[in-house]
């Protein structure tokens, strides 16, 4: 079994965005262009997250996924705004292979059981957004950490695995966008309690952080580290990059924490730590 590095693309409207801690969302460019580059670089899967879907009660990702699915032949997961079996059907029709559900699972946990029975556990990912509380416990949140649920994130993970989830996407909201590394304690607590695969998300600032997470879960979503590596090379490509996009935030001190790295470098570092992943195309010579 090989480990997985999964580029995470947060989407708002037609744009790839990245949450910057305490500063809100920044537009980075066209998600289709980033998705294609990551596929060509040997990504193991892609994760698309509609970051405002819960807020506005809609899912605008379908068109982006449909366009991506024509050129990208690795698994695509869609998260954000999936509320019903019909929404799952729509996402699959657009070309998604898996859907990740958070808010709707909290509102009606039986949705996970029904979706798993109808579309197969392998299609149903439960997205868990956790924030560490001052007493050391982890609480599950929805809407990118805007709404608390009152549920213990670890117990919720167990409950969702029993309900038939095929995989858990575990995002540390208080680490997300900070570059301080994944919440390894959260990941360890959850992986020890469930028998299904877990994908780590939130906090990667360096390739070493990805290794730390993969030591625990075997699979990690990565955003800033990859996006900020790709951005300079996409700047001259009008199909990928809107020159009006303001990237001044990259010069601020907080960004010193993010060390951009291409997928190939992350995979080589994983290899040095004994974690084999799918070979990148340059390694395959295809």
């Amino acid at each position: 079994m090989l480990v997985r590095v999964i580029p995470r693309l947060d989407i708002k409207g037609p744009n790839l965005v990245k949450g910057v801690m305490l500063e809100g969302l920044r537009v980075l460019g066209k998600p289709e262009a980033f998705a294609r580059r990551y596929y060509e670089a040997g990504a193991d899967e892609l994760l698309f997250v509609d970051v405002v879907a819960s807020l506005y009660g809609r899912n605008s990702l379908s068109d982006i996924v449909a366009r991506t699915a024509r050129d990208v032949f690795i698994p695509l997961t869609v998260a954000g705004g999936i509320r019903s079996l019909e929404d799952i059907h729509t996402a699959l029709r657009a070309g998604a292979d898996k859907v990740a559900i958070n808010t709707a699972a909290h509102q009606r946990p039986d949705l996970i059981r029904e979706a798993s029975r109808k579309y197969g556990a392998s299609t149903v990912v439960v997205s868990i957004e956790a924030i560490k509380q001052s007493d050391g416990r982890y609480e599950a949140y929805t809407d990118n950490g805007r709404e608390r649920t009152g549920r213990d994130a670890i117990a919720w993970a167990e409950q969702m695995a029993e309900a038939g989830a095929g995989e858990l996407l575990v995002t540390s909201i208080d680490r997300e966008g900070t570059g301080r590394g994944y919440d390894l304690e959260l990941l360890t607590k959850i992986i020890d309690r469930v028998g299904i695969p877990v994908v780590a998300s939130g906090g990667a600032g360096t390739a070493e952080h990805v290794v730390d997470a993969i030591n625990i879960t075997g699979a990690a979503a990565v955003a800033s580290v990859l996006h900020y590596d790709l951005l300079p090379t996409l700047r001259n490509d009008p199909a990928a990059f809107d020159p009006s996009i303001n990237l001044a935030h990259l010069q601020r001190p907080g960004f010193a924490r993010i060390a951009p790295a291409p997928l190939g470098d992350i995979k080589r570092l994983l290899d040095l730590h004994g974690h084999t992943s799918r070979p990148t195309p340059e390694a395959l010579h295809v």
Partner: protein, 223 residues
């Protein structure tokens, strides 16, 4: 203009990624739940994810089960993917024992075993894993795939063919070695997803299209 390849639609599974991947290798497909279209097609792809008993129920109720048996009896190229491999078997065991299409003798059982540290294997088996030749891949649909290549898997059950000579490929997960592809007559089927396994997976679909007589030779960019 030849008939397109048929992708069997029985109401579940992501058929669109299969159709997109076929389009990339230059062949037309039609997503269909009409048994007559299966019988007209030069080749039939049976994809699928989900629960085997529910899928068998739909295939029986719609007449697609009989059409698929007829496709196999005529020697029309048939490609099963994931659940589409499991459905070909004589018997499934999900929830309770039940009949499959019976085109391949053997059963379908839940993955169970331990990892190198003795912990129970995580199920579903989800991600990229090596596919190793059990018999020669030349001249099957896997002919262009290097032995040991990583392909994308996502499944909780695996097939156990009664006749080991149909086993085309094997894959190791923890302490388990399971059959990850079969070939028998005009049938090739894989537990992994060629449509989600990058350029090497697309190569399998291209070979299948060529076998069905509808393949176009198009170079795929690396990935």
């Amino acid at each position: 203009m030849s008939e397109p390849l048929a992708i069997v639609d029985y109401g579940i599974g992501n058929l669109f990624s299969v159709a997109n991947a076929c389009a990339r290798v230059g062949c037309d497909t039609r997503i269909t739940s009409d048994p007559a279209e299966l019988l007209r097609a030069p080749g039939v792809i049976l994809p699928g994810v989900g629960a085997m008993p529910d899928a068998m129920q739909v295939l029986r109720d719609t007449g697609l089960a009989d059409a698929l048996r007829e496709v196999a009896a005529r020697g029309t190229p048939l490609l099963g993917i994931c659940l589409g491999l499991q459905l070909l078997m004589r018997e499934g065991t999900e929830f309770e024992p039940h009949a499959g299409l019976g085109l391949i003798d053997g059963d379908v059982v839940r993955l169970a075993g331990v990892d190198p540290l003795g912990r129970p294997l995580r199920v579903p088996h989800l991600g990229w894993n090596g596919v190793h030749a059990a018999t020669a891949w030349e001249p099957t649909d896997l002919a262009t795939v290097p032995d040991g290549s990583a392909m994308y898997f996502v499944h909780s059950f695996h097939v156990r063919p009664a006749d080991s000579s149909v086993v085309l490929a094997e894959t190791r997960y923890g302490d388990q070695t399971f059959c990850s592809a079969i070939a028998s007559g005009s049938i090739v089927a894989c537990q992994f997803h060629p449509e989600r396994s990058g350029a090497l997976g697309l190569g399998i679909l291209r070979q299948f299209a060529i076998r069905a007589g509808v393949g176009a030779v198009i170079q795929e960019s690396a990935a």
